[in-house]
């Protein structure tokens, strides 16, 4: 039984057939949408859908970064606090630059640049401690999670950092406006998702991430620079947190110690629901996108109906996560 080329191209690298594991998240999404439609006729309205997606896009962009980190066998718990610090510093930088730059886009662009830089720097910090310092990712990012969180509280002096009103007015369209009726956050999310999927599937970097997550020794013996690839995943994660915050700041125009709380868990949940394996070795970006949307829709549907308290949102998300992992395992056993 030799292998022939068409055979190879037709099938995914893992699993035997497009089983529950592959299409599971899509089925769950379809069921949720059906449920939404039956509960409320406004569910599929333009307003509702763009609202859900725009709000999911922050977590979504972060979760795409997390997909790479997790696929290569790592973990980043610090993304939520990192987002808060980036938001805080961005606001401070913009407020501080107003006297020299005046009110306008130049201030905002400088703020954006600062946001991305800080994200990248935070990623470098996490990545270096993990790869060069040889400390467990869980420990490092648990540590930086605490550091970032207290840093933003310190910067805000225990209160709230607010963006100058006039600058906020200029910046606001970045969250609320869009192109051809699609809000910018959704557009950026889509671009990051497409880019991420291509990188994961069609570049050596993506292949190397999966190889490292699957077996670090094999990767090393196959001439992969394990430390560098790992480091890059954390930097990518940091930069994507920065991108998410760029879109988040114009929404509220402020940052406080509660900004971004639990985002890390939502991001990780989305990644897992999407079918990426938590211990690494296999990841898919499109799955993460589906996972993010599923999590967003659960909250939305609970808000659109009146039988179940929306306070149970977290419980439903939890159930979905556990179900997703159960399905994955079913698939693997074959």
């Amino acid at each position: 039984m030799s292998v022939s080329a068409p055979d190879i191209a037709a099938k995914p690298a893992r699993g035997f057939r497009p089983d529950l594991k592959t299409i599971g998240p899509l089925v769950a999404l379809a069921l949720l949408i059906l449920l939404g439609i039956t509960l409320n006729e406004n569910f599929l309205s333009y307003n509702n859908i763009t609202n859900v997606l725009a709000r999911s896009s922050f977590i979504g962009i972060i979760a795409i970064g997390a997909t790479f980190v997790i696929t290569s066998g790592g973990l980043d718990l610090s993304v939520g606090s990192m987002a808060a610090v980036i938001a805080g510093v961005m606001i401070m930088v913009m407020n501080w630059l107003i006297p020299s730059f005046g009110i306008g886009w130049s201030v905002i662009l400088a703020g954006m640049a600062a946001g991305i830089l800080i994200g990248g720097a935070a990623g470098i910090g996490n990545g270096l401690m993990i790869t060069r310092g040889r400390i467990e990712a869980f420990i490092v990012t648990l540590g930086t999670m605490g550091i970032f969180r207290s840093l933003v509280t310190f910067l805000a002096d225990g209160g709230t950092l607010s963006l100058n009103f006039q600058v906020a007015d200029v910046y606001r369209p970045v969250y609320y406006d869009g192109l051809l009726g699609i809000p910018y956050p959704i557009l950026v999310f889509a671009l990051v998702a497409i880019g991420g999927e291509i990188v994961m599937r069609r570049t050596s970097f993506g292949r190397h991430c999966a190889a490292i997550g699957s077996n670090e020794q094999v990767a090393r013996y196959s001439s992969i620079n394990v430390d560098n690839v790992r480091l890059i995943t954390y930097i990518l994660q940091g930069i994507l947190v920065g991108v998410a915050v760029l879109l988040y700041v114009p929404r509220l125009g402020s940052a406080s110690s509660t900004t971004g709380v639990l985002w890390e868990l939502e991001a990780i949940a989305a990644v897992i629901i999407g079918g990426t394996t938590l211990k690494g070795g296999y990841g898919r970006v499109w799955g993460t996108v589906v996972g993010v949307v599923i999590l967003g829709l659960i909250g939305n549907i609970l808000n659109l109906q009146s039988f179940i308290s929306p306070y149970l949102n977290g419980a439903f998300q939890g159930v979905i996560i556990i179900l997703a992992v159960l399905l994955q395992r079913g698939g693997r056993r074959d």
């Binding site: 039984m1 030799s2 292998v3 022939s4 080329a5 055979d7 190879i8 191209a9 099938k11 995914p12 690298a13 893992r14 699993g15 035997f16 291509i198 599937r201 069609r202 570049t203 050596s204 292949r207 190397h208 999966a210 190889a211 699957s214 077996n215 020794q217 094999v218 990767a219 090393r220 013996y221 196959s222 001439s223 992969i224 620079n225 070795g281 296999y282």
Partner: protein, 513 residues
């Protein structure tokens, strides 16, 4: 066929008309098999013939698709997941199956820990673990963690674990694939001791001389079919090999072409020191096959890893085509045309959860880029070529590599190494777990590589293989080069003399001889 006296003993474990399919794919066809108390029954066959699958069925890990299993004369349904151990059916897997972070003592007593007053009796477990390891003449600390052991020691721990259980049927899937000659001999002594006590042993091996020595009966499988079950005394290694492959096997080793003593030295190693090896010097010429013999743990792998940059060198120099080189990462050595194929295919060679294609191209992904993106159709072509060249048999390319038969994994790894089109190839145990037919293929591939001007280092614990292939043989002992043999000196006795330390040469004058 079999002695009347032997037949009079009722089998303890037997399979009747057992068939097995994975999904749509049939793997075993109506196999009859039995093993009697006190005998060693060997199963042989080509890679993928279904040997491992058959013994998984005999130990309850897989359920037969049809047919039945009888234990002690009773038809039984064996409990899955190794629980048949409680009935006395103990299996040693082909691929090592130890928890990497446990200690040796913990592993041996895993699942049946000794307790005192409800708490673990670690002292007693350690003492008994040491005792079992001593009967196997293995000197590993019961407190050592599994992940610090060599592959051979891991295998010995597996064996210790199995024989320390009260086995009535002991099933071993290629236990000797990673063992040296002397370790194999100790294992055989233990097996003989067990059979004398009435334990039934099922034994899989690709090494036909072992089969001739140990087994009472031999069952031959080919492509999932039962070819024959025969008493060993009626067999010769040749006739077994012929039954296995279904054709006559002549010339296991290709004819050696004359080594060209004037050929340029492509790899020169001088006074190399690394973690476990000291003062290593040797030359490798273009078109030459240089064997590395020695006991397991004598440092052959360490030399190779230090040369290609997988391990750190503490002193010495390496010259490649006259240029001094200092590889610190594998990528550099691969780029320079030096490839190393590991002997630990499960731990270091292959990504077991992935398909064939990503495994084949992992080392050489940059050859499959188009405008910076992976070109999967180019990868597919590479896979097609490798499948043809190395005769890799897989159900389809998407099957996780961990599910291929051991021999096909080995062939895939060889394909992966050769993808980088190296000029110097260092192969560490290249035929581990490979059937004779495929071995012959691989030997011919190695010889062809040398004939076309590549230089090959073959590290092997199979003396026959080293002797049959090499132009010169470096014998290592406890981290040093004990001697370099060539021409008529390359004999089993001579290699063993150096390997065991009975003979020692001032090799320095002869390294480039």
């Amino acid at each position: 066929m079999v002695d009347a006296q032997e037949t009079s003993v009722a089998p303890i474990l037997s399979a009747h008309r057992v068939s097995k399919s994975f999904g749509e794919i049939p793997v075993l066809f109506s196999i009859d098999f039995d093993v009697r108390p006190g005998e060693v029954h060997a199963i042989i066959g080509e890679n993928g013939a279904g040997k491992s699958t058959l013994i998984k069925i005999l130990s309850g890990i897989e359920q037969p698709t049809s047919g039945s299993i009888a234990f002690d004369g009773q038809t039984v349904e064996l409990p899955p997941d190794g629980k048949a151990e409680a009935m006395g059916i103990v299996l040693i897997h082909q691929e090592l199956n130890l928890a990497e972070h446990l200690t040796v003592a913990d592993s041996i007593f895993l699942g049946r820990e000794l307790k005192r007053f409800g708490f673990l009796d670690t002292g007693e477990m350690r003492r008994r673990a040491r005792a079992v390891m001593e009967t196997l003449h293995v000197s590993v600390d019961p407190d050592a963690r599994i992940n610090t052991l060599s592959v051979a020691d891991k295998q010995m721990v597996e064996i210790a674990k199995a024989i320390s259980r009260d086995a009535r049927v002991l099933i071993m899937d290629e236990p000797t694939a990673v063992l040296s000659v002397s370790e194999t001999q100790t294992l055989f002594e233990q097996i003989k001791r067990l059979t004398a006590r009435g334990v039934a042993v099922v034994f899989i091996s690709h090494k036909l001389d072992e089969i001739m020595e140990l087994a009472n009966r031999v069952t031959v499988l080919r492509d999932g079919q039962l070819i024959a079950t025969v008493g060993t005394q009626a067999l010769t290694p040749d006739s077994i090999a012929q039954m296995m492959v279904g054709r006559e096997l002549s010339n296991l080793y290709p004819p050696k072409h004359e080594p060209n003593v004037d050929a340029p030295v492509v790899l020169r190693v001088r006074n190399l020191d690394a973690a476990t090896v000291k003062n290593i010097s040797f030359d490798l010429r273009k078109g030459e096959i240089l064997g590395f013999a020695g006991l397991i743990g004598s440092g052959r792998t360490a030399v190779a890893e230090a040369v290609v940059g997988l391990a750190q060198k503490s002193a010495g120099e390496v010259t490649l085509n006259g240029e001094p080189v200092n590889f610190t990462r594998v990528a550099q050595s691969v780029d320079a045309g030096v490839a190393y194929m590991t002997k630990d295919r499960k731990g270091k060679g292959l990504l077991l959860n992935m398909g064939l294609r990503p495994n084949l191209t992992l080392l050489t992904l940059k050859n499959h880029l188009r405008a910076g993106f992976l070109d999967t159709s180019s990868e597919d072509r590479a896979l097609e070529r490798a499948v043809r060249r190395f005769d890799i048999r897989a159900r389809d390319a998407s099957v996780a590599v961990g599910r291929l038969s051991g021999g096909n994994q080995q062939k895939l790894m060889l394909g992966k190494t050769m993808e980088s089109d190296p000029d110097i190839i260092i192969m560490d145990e290249p035929t581990r777990g490979i059937d004779v037919g495929t071995k012959q293929q691989i030997y011919h591939i190695i010889a062809a590589l040398a004939a076309e001007g590549k230089a090959v280092i073959v590290i092997s614990s199979e003396l026959q293989e080293v002797i049959g292939l090499s132009h010169r043989v470096v014998v290592m002992r406890t981290g040093r080069i004990a001697g370099v043999l060539e021409g008529a000196e390359i004999t089993e006795e001579e290699i063993m003399r150096y390997a065991a330390g009975i003979k020692q040469s001032g090799h320095d004058e002869r390294i480039s001889a």
